[in-house]
């Protein structure tokens, strides 16, 4: 989940700030196997070209309102082959019943470590969601801190917004906005669910986020596949 580098979801320290928008809900029985990827054009802030971040995660609720997820994080770029660069543990805590209040609330906690380096990142995010008929609006507000001998100690903040239209289960158009350190991005997105029977399903997401300032990559593509069983 949100890791940030600026703020928005899950990111290696000082890496991409565009990742994923989290929703404040927990499925208490399902296991989730997740792969997600971001691919960015040249990043003026980090001077990295075609940076690609892959996350491989496994999630399970340990209580009706609490889900844990562990990730392996791999990166590659124009100058580097794909390799494992870090690890992350996330905890998603659902605070309210969906629809109970005017806003649904949740909290997300993340702890990430870069492989082979003394570089850590911790973050807490407030997750908010509001349903408006067939529309849903979600906000992730993140506060994080990076520390270690191999990284500059610093606080970071971030914001991710998502508007979703529940058109069909298999196709929901969305609009996403990301704001973080050296990142301001906006773009169209979509997601869907495919039921596979026997309590199994496949969830997908994709987005094209366009940088709207001089320090954000001109475009960042993101994708997600999540198998629930």
């Amino acid at each position: 989940m949100l890791a940030l580098n600026g703020f928005a979801c899950g990111v290696l320290a000082d890496g991409l700030a565009i990742d994923k928008v989290y929703h404040p809900y927990v499925d208490p029985l399902a296991w989730e196997l997740e792969w997600r990827v971001t691919h960015a054009d040249y990043n003026p802030a980090s001077d990295i070209d075609r940076e690609e971040v892959h996350r491989f995660g496994l999630a399970k609720a340990v209580a009706p309102e609490l889900m844990l997820e562990g990730y392996l994080i791999a990166e590659r770029s124009a100058n580097q082959d794909l390799k494992i660069e870090g690890y992350e543990l996330e905890a998603l805590w659902q605070l309210t019943e969906q629809g109970e209040k005017s806003l649904d609330y949740g909290l997300l906690f993340e702890l990430e470590k870069e492989r082979g380096q003394n570089a850590w990142e911790g973050a807490a995010s407030l997750l908010l969601e509001r349903e408006l008929g067939r529309y849903s609006v979600t906000a992730n507000i993140e506060l994080g801190y990076e520390w270690g001998e191999d990284i500059r100690d610093e606080w970071e903040t971030g914001l991710a917004l998502q508007a979703r239209y529940r058109y069909r289960m298999i196709l929901e158009p969305m609009l996403e906005f990301y704001l973080g350190e050296d990142t301001v991005g906006l773009g169209p997105a979509a997601q869907g669910n495919i039921r596979l029977g026997g309590m199994k399903s496949l969830h997908w997401q994709t987005a094209v986020v366009v940088g709207v300032d001089g320090t954000t990559p001109d475009y960042t593509l993101r994708g997600l596949l999540e198998y629930e069983f």
Binding site: E97, R166, M169
Partner: protein, 99 residues
């Protein structure tokens, strides 16, 4: 029918009860008012868990065997909103009718 409609208080959401028994929803049709948020208490009387699921209502909720769970739905426009039990989709089916 286990449909216990009723308004808990002037300010609280109207409360309805839905029972899961023998992998069936009772009542299978629930009539609720339009433009009103309602509280749906689902009592799973089976020994096995069930998941109340409805894309139309934008809700998914697991109810463990022998337990109750609360689901808030609405406010909704008039219409019919189907729901089903994901663990027993062939038998556990119902709909919310908004009038």
């Amino acid at each position: 029918m286990a449909f216990v409609a009723g308004v808990a208080s002037a300010q609280a959401a109207p409360e309805y009860t839905l029972v899961i028994r023998d992998h069936l929803f009772d009542p299978a049709e629930l009539v609720i008012p339009s433009d009103t948020r309602v509280k749906l208490v689902v009592h799973n009387q089976d020994a096995t868990p069930e998941e109340f699921e409805s894309y139309e209502l934008n809700r998914e909720k697991v109810i463990l065997g022998g337990r109750k769970a609360t689901i808030y739905i609405g406010p909704l426009s008039p219409g019919t909103y189907p729901f089903f039990g994901e663990f027993n989709p062939r038998t556990a089916q119902g709909k919310v009718i908004v009038e």
